[in-house]
């Protein structure tokens, strides 16, 4: 059986390398993007093999799902333009350079990596887990031990959305060449399931793989699907509506939790004794909501309209 597992790993690695090669070298841009999406899919299998279900979940929701939708949508602007007959790659970067340089780098990295004892922090986590307020170690690390990273991480998401808004208006969506009647039905059918699964993942977070990030991503993906199914983007950039507030809610709440620690005379982000569990629950819900909207906002690639509709006539 060990042989079968080894064969599985080898095959997976070979497929990943092949796909990475295709994603960087394929002559056709769409070919490259599909290769990259499949790369993400197989990467999730690799995470599963490496006993990292949390990472697999995030990769499935964010890596393969949301990123795939982003890349495919970006093609709409890029694919329309006529292809220029220029070389796709820089000249002069011949194999003479890359083969030796690549092999040297590879040898160096592998040598270094084999020498790692990888002591890990597993024991430290086990020792502190009971005080963290949650049963699942990854959630404990994200929202308690290293909550500062998570605050900045949600900040990065929010910041990315602000940057994208600052760059200009969202491009109006293209009208499909042949609208299908099945699409709106699909949206109506699936959206409740998206919401349900997102809520389930959020709830799972405290004692198993799940939590705000996959949940938010699934929720956001549901929004993207609704948009594709013909719904109007309901998010508005108007400064009067609630949207800007909800977008920044996750970061604001995390920041408040951090400051609360300082104000009560303790460390930044130190939850009062015994209240860690409820703090983390509130943080998860707020963060999940924000993340969903932020991922949706990232997908729009620009600032949505302030008011009014976004019909095909505009």
């Amino acid at each position: 059986m060990a042989l079968v597992v080894l064969a599985f790993d080898l095959l997976l690695a070979a497929a990943l390398i092949w796909l990475a090669w295709q994603a960087t070298r394929a002559a056709d841009l769409f070919h490259a993007v599909v290769s990259f999406i499949v790369f993400g899919l197989l990467m999730a299998l690799a995470w599963v093999r490496l006993e990292a279900p949390d990472v697999a979940l995030a990769e499935a929701a964010i890596g393969a799902g949301a990123t795939g939708a982003l890349l495919l949508s970006a093609l709409d602007r890029l694919a329309r333009r006529p292809r220029r007959h220029a070389p796709l790659y820089e000249p002069g970067t011949a194999w003479g350079f890359w083969l030796p340089a690549g092999s040297a780098l590879l040898a160096m990295l592998t040598l270094a990596a084999w020498n790692l004892p990888a002591p890990g922090l597993g024991n430290e986590i086990l020792a502190s887990l009971s005080a963290s307020g949650v049963e699942h170690a990854v959630t404990a690390v994200l929202l308690n031990f290293r909550a500062l990273d998570t605050l900045l991480e949600i900040g990065v998401l929010l910041l990315a959305a602000v940057v994208i808004w600052a760059l200009g208006q969202a491009p109006p969506p293209l009208v499909p060449s042949m609208p299908s009647p099945a699409l709106p039905a699909l949206g109506r059918l699936l959206f409740p399931i998206f919401v349900l699964v997102a809520a389930y993942l959020l709830w799972r977070g405290s004692h198993g793989p799940g939590g705000a990030f996959p949940a938010g991503a699934v929720f956001g993906a549901g929004g993207i699907l609704m948009l594709l199914a013909g719904a109007r983007p309901w998010i508005r950039s108007s400064e009067h509506g609630p949207w800007r507030l909800i977008l920044s809610l996750g970061m604001a709440v995390l920041l408040a939790a951090g400051v609360a620690g300082t104000l009560s005379g303790q460390d930044f982000f130190q939850y009062p004794k015994g209240t860690a569990a409820s703090f983390i629950l509130v943080l998860e819900v707020a963060a999940g909501l924000s993340i969903a909207l932020l991922i949706f906002a990232l997908y729009l690639r620009g600032k949505p309209r302030e008011h009014g509709s976004w019909g095909a006539a505009e």
Partner: protein, 484 residues
């Protein structure tokens, strides 16, 4: 509650909170941003005093100690850079608030404010961080905010922003690979903990090489500087100022932090000389290119690349034994450069507004309205060149002492040649002002005197840094893992 533990929390949380407020309610932008800036400046100043009084300290986050938890550490170096960030941030904010509204290249120029505050918060987080991965997250935060700010100028600046984004992402990915290797070897991310555990060996050496490479790319050190001039030259003036003065300094700060902290056991003569040579090449090459520029802001942008070369001289000089002088000299130089460079960019911004363009041969003639800006430009230039008693002079003096003490005549020569180049290209810029027959903008906007004043104050700060020599020496002495 003493200011000690509370100060860092304020510096971390206040700009981010203000950014959120300004994003949600754009009409409050200017007052909120200026108020937050003023408070931060005051807090940073007070923290500097606390550090002078009681020395450096580390504080943990969330009640968890390393290796599991993250911490902040505040020492003289961090406090000085936080204060410099606050000064540049505040001056840039005032400058931007009082400049005439830019032509409509962006749909909503008010997005400047949340991005500005986010960048500020990210920089503060970076200077406080004492954890390798926390540094990575903060670096990405700063990068994205910078990209957004560069992109605000529209047009060609967005292409520059994209190049910058790709370069900086590559840099942080390479850095992260180094972090992964170190984590795998020592199961720690905290600076202090790693400093205890790291010993020379294959894995730490490769990790150090990777992290250094990534940071060199972010600091735009020769030969990895290709992205810098376009990105810094094309952005809005306040943005160019903070990018050149602080964002580059942040990458350099990490480089120094790592090599004099966790990676100190690996700092051999070979590595140090290599880094020093890179710095020397950057000084010369950047200076030459600056000399060839025809556009005021591009000239200043190339000058940034040149000036950070001096910073790298700290490695060979410290490795040769003159730790204290080299360390203090290089860091004073970085601080003085930050203030002077920000002053130069702000002054150039006002001048470009007045003349409707930045080509050097069109800057002459009537200088009404931007006289203060030119004065600021001249004072900042004097500091960059290193005329006494400016901060630039002090830094170069200490570096030269270190070079003499250790017999590093090569580095002394670099200092001299660099100074000559610097004075040559800055003189070209100043000369342009004295020529007759320039252009003024078609509809010359009435410029607020605040524009020039912001630049002047920063320039005076850079010049006065030299007078604070004893205090600076004491402050930077407080850096553990460094000298002593």
């Amino acid at each position: 509650m003493s200011l000690g533990p509370v100060g860092p929390a304020i510096l971390f949380a206040l700009p981010l909170a203000a950014a959120i407020v300004v994003f949600v309610r754009p009409r409050w932008s200017v007052p909120v941003a200026l108020a937050a800036g003023a408070v931060q400046f005051a807090v940073a100043l007070a923290l500097l005093g606390v550090v002078l009084e009681q020395g450096a300290w580390r504080q943990s986050i969330g009640g968890w100690s390393a290796p599991l938890g993250i911490g902040w550490r505040l020492d003289g170096l961090a406090a000085a850079l936080l204060l410099m960030t606050a000064a540049v941030g505040l001056a840039g904010a005032v400058f931007h608030a009082s400049r005439p509204p830019p032509p409509a290249v962006v749909p909503d120029p008010r997005f400047f404010w949340p991005l500005w505050l986010f960048l500020w918060g990210g920089l503060n987080a970076l200077f406080l961080a004492a954890d390798l991965f926390n540094v990575y997250v903060a670096l990405e935060f700063v990068s994205i905010a910078s990209v957004g700010l560069i992109g605000l100028a529209g047009g060609a600046a967005q292409a520059a922003a994209l190049r910058y984004l790709l370069a900086t992402l590559l840099g942080s990915t390479i850095y992260l690979l180094g972090v992964a290797l170190l984590y795998g070897r020592y199961a720690a991310l905290d600076f202090a903990l790693l400093a205890e555990r790291v010993e020379p060996g294959l894995v730490p050496a490769i990790a150090a090489a990777l992290m250094t490479l990534g940071l060199l790319l972010k600091a735009a050190i020769f030969p990895l500087h290709f992205w810098l001039p376009a990105a810094h030259g094309r952005a809005l003036p306040a943005v160019s100022a903070v990018l050149s003065a602080v964002v580059i300094a942040a990458a350099y700060y990490l480089l120094v932090r790592l090599w004099f902290g966790p990676l100190a056991p690996l700092l051999g003569t070979g590595v140090a000389t290599l880094l020093g040579l890179l710095g020397a090449a950057a000084v010369m090459w950047g200076g030459l290119l600056a000399l060839l520029q025809r556009h005021l802001k591009m000239l200043i942008a190339y000058s940034t690349m040149s000036q950070f070369g001096y910073g790298l001289l700290v490695f060979p000089l410290a490795a040769a034994g003159a730790v204290e002088q080299a360390w203090t000299g290089a860091l004073v130089l970085v601080l003085a450069h930050g203030l002077a460079k920000a002053a130069l960019f702000l002054a150039a911004g006002a001048i470009v507004l007045r003349h409707g363009g930045g080509r050097l041969d069109a800057l002459g003639g009537d200088q009404a309205g931007v006289l203060i800006a030119w004065v600021a430009f001249a004072i900042a230039s004097a500091s960059l060149v290193g005329l006494p008693p400016s901060g630039g002079f002090l830094g170069k003096w200490w570096l030269a002492q270190a070079a003499l003490a250790t017999g590093g005549y090569l580095w002394l020569a670099v200092l001299m040649a660099g100074t000559a180049l610097t004075s040559a290209y800055l003189w070209r810029a100043l000369q342009a002002a004295l020529r007759a027959g320039g252009e003024t903008a078609a509809e010359a906007p009435a410029l607020s005197p605040a524009l020039g004043l912001c630049a002047l104050l920063l320039a005076l700060g850079a010049a006065a840094l030299g007078l604070a020599a004893p205090m600076l020496a004491r402050l930077l002495d407080a850096v553990p893992g460094g000298p002593g």
